[in-house]
């Protein structure tokens, strides 16, 4: 069995906790998943800030090192890659970030962010070839090269900048794109267009996408699978349809119910207020303090990952009677 392209193997990241650094902050806890094997798909990792989703992205991209576990590229620890293997890793795994302004160096025209990877990875033999490659990438994301090239970042709109970053990610013909909140800083009306082009990347170019977001609605519209994170671990995972239509974990249910919809029924504001119970803050199940279904066992025992369907799992004591799944096997429920 060939090793998966990109794999998080029981990865954890804790900040602080040393002699002088105060209480440790667990950003990610024993998380495992793999990507890039089988049919290309879009997997969404959904969570609020502090859930660990951005930490996961940074670990997979090699921008941070894990404090436990390993991130593997084709079976190899990415921290140990060198030379050709490292270049291959950088080519196969690309990223799109949240802030469409900060990712551009204001000193250079936007061309710089496109020509650099072409140059560093020797994707073109001549300047003309490079230009052709870049123009094609821009057209793939629906941009007109003459409107983008030669301009400075502040002369483009947020949507144009973000799409340019998608074009940049495409230049290297990656197998996986990790998109960290790619549309949260973009207008609502433009989000649909950008997410649509990401979906086309999967359907037409066979690129798997890891879509990291706090917005469950767009996650559902665009993804095949959803993993819901809460305070550093995965609380629910499975096919997007099942997670959203039949949310199992109380947190997922809370999320689904909290999204304001354009409809004539106005019950969104009237829902029960969510007052966290201070005494349950350090309970074994990290969600116990906010959970309306919390039981005594939740306070003392960490909920196991239970398989409630062939493509659906939740880490909650409510489903304790189902077959259990090891954290490392989270991928089994993903399409």
């Amino acid at each position: 069995m060939t090793a998966p392209l990109l794999q998080a193997d029981r990865v954890g990241r804790t900040y602080g906790g040393g002699l002088l650094s105060g209480t440790p902050n667990v950003a990610l806890d024993n998380f495992s998943m793999s990507n890039g094997t089988g049919t290309p798909s879009v997997t969404a990792v959904v969570g609020e800030s502090g859930s660990g989703k951005t930490t996961l992205a940074r670990l997979l991209l090699g921008l941070t090192t894990p404090t436990s576990g390993t991130v593997r590229y084709r079976g190899e620890d990415i921290g140990r890659l060198s030379g050709a293997a490292r270049r291959s890793y950088r080519t196969d795994i690309q990223a799109i970030f949240q802030d469409p302004y900060g990712v551009f160096n204001p000193f250079y025209r936007v061309d710089h962010v496109l020509t650099t990877p072409v140059r560093k990875f020797r994707l073109a033999a001549s300047r003309a070839e490079a230009r052709a490659l870049i123009e094609q990438a821009l057209r793939t994301v629906g941009l007109r090269p003459e409107e983008i090239l030669g301009r400075y970042p502040h002369q483009l709109s947020g949507g144009q900048r973000q799409r340019t970053m998608v074009a940049r990610a495409l230049l290297l013909k990656p197998k996986i794109i990790i998109a960290d909140e790619p549309v949260s800083m973009v207008d609502a009306s433009l989000r649909a267009t950008i997410l649509g082009s990401l979906r086309r990347l999967t359907d037409e170019l066979g690129i798997s996408i890891l879509y990291i977001t706090h917005d469950l609605a767009t996650a559902w519209q665009v993804s095949d699978n959803i993993i819901v994170m809460y305070r550093a671990s995965a609380v629910e995972a499975g096919r997007a349809e099942e997670v959203v239509k039949s949310p199992a974990h109380p947190y997922t249910r809370l999320l689904v119910g909290s999204i304001p919809q354009v409809s004539l029924t106005r019950d969104w504001l009237a829902a029960e207020p969510d007052a966290p119970r201070a005494e349950d803050r350090d309970a074994a199940c990290r969600f116990a303090g906010r959970c309306s279904s919390a039981m005594d066992v939740c306070r003392v025992q960490v909920p196991p990952l239970s398989r409630i369907g062939p493509c659906h799992a939740a880490a909650c004591h409510l489903y304790g009677q189902h077959a259990q799944l090891a954290a490392e096997d989270l991928n089994d429920v993903l399409a």
Binding site: L63, F97, V103
Partner: protein, 279 residues
């Protein structure tokens, strides 16, 4: 460029002052004989007159010639020391700030200790130890030996901020190596800040050199601004009423410092967009 200067009055004023100085020096160079800046070239202690616009000093120097010759020397010490200091400081700042770790701790520690010790004291000790008096270039090196301390610290803070920027991470993902990122991504964005630091370092270097010279530790033969003031002190020119002797160097020093100060403020405004008064 001129449109921008209208919106940045500090920079405009600073450049204006330095231009006055430049014009003075330019015209002066054509009108004087550099030999007149040496002692015994003119009758001593004449107040300003048509022949001697700034008067003459006790050793018989034509003060106008002395200023025209001496001001560039003082400025040169300042620039050389300032440029050396900022260059060394930038290199150390990037190495410390970008790579962090033990190198950062070491560089930061040395800079911190260096900044605590009184600079003038160290300079005096160095100047006194050099045998046979200092030349102008040696003066510059002496001042430069301490001029890198502050730039290292301040530029390091900027580096720490810059390395967290999105485009630095994108550069890493695009395959750029550390030094490439420093040169091509970070330094271009720091240029205004480095400019402001340079002007401010030059200003500090000039001040340090004048300080040493007034104490008599500078190059004795050169008619630099500081040395002129040394002779003013030595000969009690103030008490003796030879006002023209100390007026010229002081006016020039004030113009230099004000000019450099306003330029620093103006450059700071470019470097830090939040200080800008209008778009």
């Amino acid at each position: 460029m001129f449109r921008y200067l209208k919106r940045n009055p500090s920079l405009a004023f600073g450049i204006f002052l330095m231009s006055i100085l430049a014009v003075f020096l330019l015209i002066g160079t054509f009108r004087i004989d550099p030999e007149d800046a040496r002692p015994l070239s003119a009758p001593a202690l004449h107040p300003p007159s048509w022949d001697y616009p700034f008067g003459t000093d006790r050793q018989g120097r034509d003060l106008f010639a002395a200023m025209v010759v001496g001001t560039p020397l003082t400025l040169r010490i300042g620039f050389v020391a300032g440029i050396l200091g900022v260059t060394i400081g930038t290199v150390l700042a990037f190495v410390a700030g970008f790579y962090r770790g033990i190198v950062d701790t070491a560089i930061r520690g040395i800079a911190d200790i260096g900044l605590t010790v009184p600079g003038l004291l160290i300079l005096i000790i160095i100047a006194v130890s050099v045998r046979g008096g200092l030349t102008v270039n040696q003066m510059a090196l002496v001042v430069a030996s301490l001029a890198w301390l502050n730039p290292t610290r301040t530029i390091r803070s900027q580096v720490l901020t810059l390395r967290e920027r999105g485009y630095v991470e994108v550069a890493r993902l695009s395959g750029m190596s550390g030094p490439e990122i420093i040169f091509f991504e970070m330094i271009p964005n720091l240029l205004p800040y480095l400019g402001a630091t340079l002007v401010s370092a030059v200003s500090a270097a000039i001040l340090a050199s004048i300080g040493l010279e007034v104490l008599g530790l500078g190059p004795l033969e050169a008619p630099t601004l500081g040395m002129t003031l040394y002779w003013v002190n030595f000969n009690a020119a103030i008490i003796n009423g030879w006002w023209w002797w100390w007026t010229a160097p002081i006016v020039i020093i004030v113009i230099v410092f004000l000019g450099l100060f306003f330029m620093t403020v103006g450059l700071d405004e470019i470097a830090n967009p939040r200080l800008r008064r209008s778009i």
